[in-house]
Amino acid sequence: MSLSTQEETPSVRATPVAIGRKPAKKINRGPIWLKPRFLISGTIVALMLLMAAFPQLFAGFGSNPAANCDIMRTNEAPSAEHIFGVDIQGCDYYTNVIYGARASILVGIVVTAISFVLSAILGSLAGFFGGWVDTIISRACDMAFGLPFILAAIVVLQLFSERTVWTVIFALALFSWPGGVRFMRSSVMEVRNREYVQASKLLGASNTRIIAKHIIPNSLTPLLVLQTLGIGGVISAEAGLTFIGIGLTPPSVSWGLQLAAAREYISAAPHLLVFPAIFLTITVLGFVLFGEAMRDEFDPKGK
């Protein structure tokens, strides 16, 4: 065997290697916030959050959605004056739909936050300590898993006659944690056995320090990402519960309530269904996409 002749060997490159490359082939993915999916979903989420926090900014008829009503104009179709039409009570529907964002988003975010905190705490305890702590928490998870989410929420909601946003949050949060706990638990168990945790133990670090410095920071991000993905689902669940009449009750304003009320007017006043449905869908979509984008970015397992 002989190796190639001089001509065939790679020529000496006088130019820096990087320059000869065709830039077209370069897939520069850039920072995460520049990616289209992230950008779109982020904008939706930000807009909806703003709407939930300061509906006055968007609403057409001042700060009270129940002002400017005329019962005689009930269910009027959209017009220049009322761009989303008029609702059953004769109030401006646009204002109402804008105000509906608050309940939905509040429920979505608070329930997710509660379940996040619960999952983080219970999951860490179960994963870190194992033994009977783990057994108890795992069995509790089984219980909460075994009870169908919607049915359990219905039972809880029926404890309250007047159901405000907080009642709904309570009911949804009560059974929304087991998934997160399991996730956190396995992720903590994984981190717990990593060598850097043992290394820290060897240095004589206390359990508190190990949990706070090593376990939590390394297992929380995946959970956070998972939970972001869940916000959309919670918003949807609230609307569904309200729709079958066991979610929010008036005088709360929410998209679920609006949709529930609109059901009887599907053909007579379709705008009642269409507008909150669009808002709800876009919001859920926004949060789900946002969660997906986050997951793709931060969760190595999802890749």
């Binding site: 069995r139 219980m143 898993f145 075994g146 009870l147 919607i150 039972v155 404890l159 997906e292």
Partner: protein, 307 residues
């Protein structure tokens, strides 16, 4: 395997007791008087109320009531409702309907979700993948009842392809539409999971081996990738069937399907503790059994798992 099964069954006992306890406590705490529901607008005479309260131990302390309930349950007795009908009978009357619905939805979901997931996974990062994502997420985003109402009106009423409500047409005709709605809503998660799993498997070393053996792409995918990609999916699928049993409430209401969900809601509205707890117990049992079956199945499709 036997030891494993026995251990798992033993583990179920506290879960069932705990779950029924929670539900029992919740129904006990619910405001309102169960007897009131029985009587309608005109109140029953005090004496009759008294008789009923006595017959159903409504005045006993909570724990005593619960103890009686569990004791009955151990003997296979789910109790009777306020109209004297055995609760187990009521549940068994409805459970097959919900089961048919959930199973149909589950199968449809499996077809849709797996197809989209596999498609997306194979087109990882390309346009097709994004399309698959958008498709599933849109159905995830639109609340189920909106899809349900739309489908009912368009396919059921305007096109008249299937009955829009009720199950007179029997299985599968009467179940297809509601099941499809449920399936569309639920297929997003499955599609995502399948996609992720498949993408992971496609990167696995043994697929390189398969390709290095000169196998055709289709053989690589069908023969080597999919079975491995299905391993995590099976768990999810199994548990989601149990979940669908309880999650069909809204769909059942819209399509007038006399399933367990409707019974549960009615029972809750009437504060019929025995029925509510009976259903919850049943569903928890179904969930646990499915959970076990899935884990046993897991051991079959993944030879590495020893149980």
């Amino acid at each position: 395997m036997l030891g494993y099964t026995v251990r798992r069954i033993l583990q179920m006992v506290p879960v069932v007791i705990g779950a029924t306890f929670i539900i029992y406590a919740l129904t006990f705490l619910m405001p309102g008087d169960p007897v009131a529901a029985l009587t309608g607008a005109r109140p029953l005479p005090e004496s009759t109320v008294q008789q009923i309260r006595l017959a159903y131990r409504l005045d006993d302390p909570f724990l005593v009531q619960y103890g009686h309930y569990i004791w009955g349950l151990v003997q296979g007795n789910f109790g009777i409702d306020f109209f004297g009908r055995p609760v187990l009978g009521l549940i068994l009357e409805r459970l097959p309907v919900t089961f048919a619905l959930a199973l149909t939805a589950w199968v449809l979901k499996m077809i849709i979700g797996l197809a989209i997931g596999v498609y997306g996974g194979l087109r990882n990062g390309q346009a097709g993948d994004h399309f698959a994502l958008v498709f599933t997420v849109v159905f995830l985003g639109i609340p189920g009842f909106v899809i349900a109402l739309g489908a009912q009106n368009i396919i059921g009423v305007q096109l008249g392809w299937v009955d829009p409500a009720g199950i007179r047409a029997g299985w599968p005709l009467a179940f297809i539409l509601p099941a499809l709605v449920m399936a569309l809503e639920a297929s997003a998660g499955l599609a995502r999971l399948t996609r992720t799993s498949l993408v992971g498997v496609l990167r696995a070393e043994y697929l390189r081996t398969a390709r290095a053996k000169g196998l055709s792409p289709s053989r690589v995918i069908w023969g080597h990738a999919l079975r491995n990609a299905m391993i995590p999916v099976v768990t999810y699928l199994g548990l989601s069937l149990a979940g669908m049993l309880g999650g069909a409430v809204i769909i059942e209401a819209i399509f007038n399907i006399p399933g367990i969900g409707g019974l549960m809601v009615a029972a809750i509205n009437n504060k019929e503790g025995t029925v509510v707890v009976g259903i919850a117990t049943m569903l928890v049992l179904v969930y646990l059994v499915f959970n076990l079956l899935v884990d046993l199945l897991y051991g079959i499709i993944d030879p590495r798992v020893r149980i």
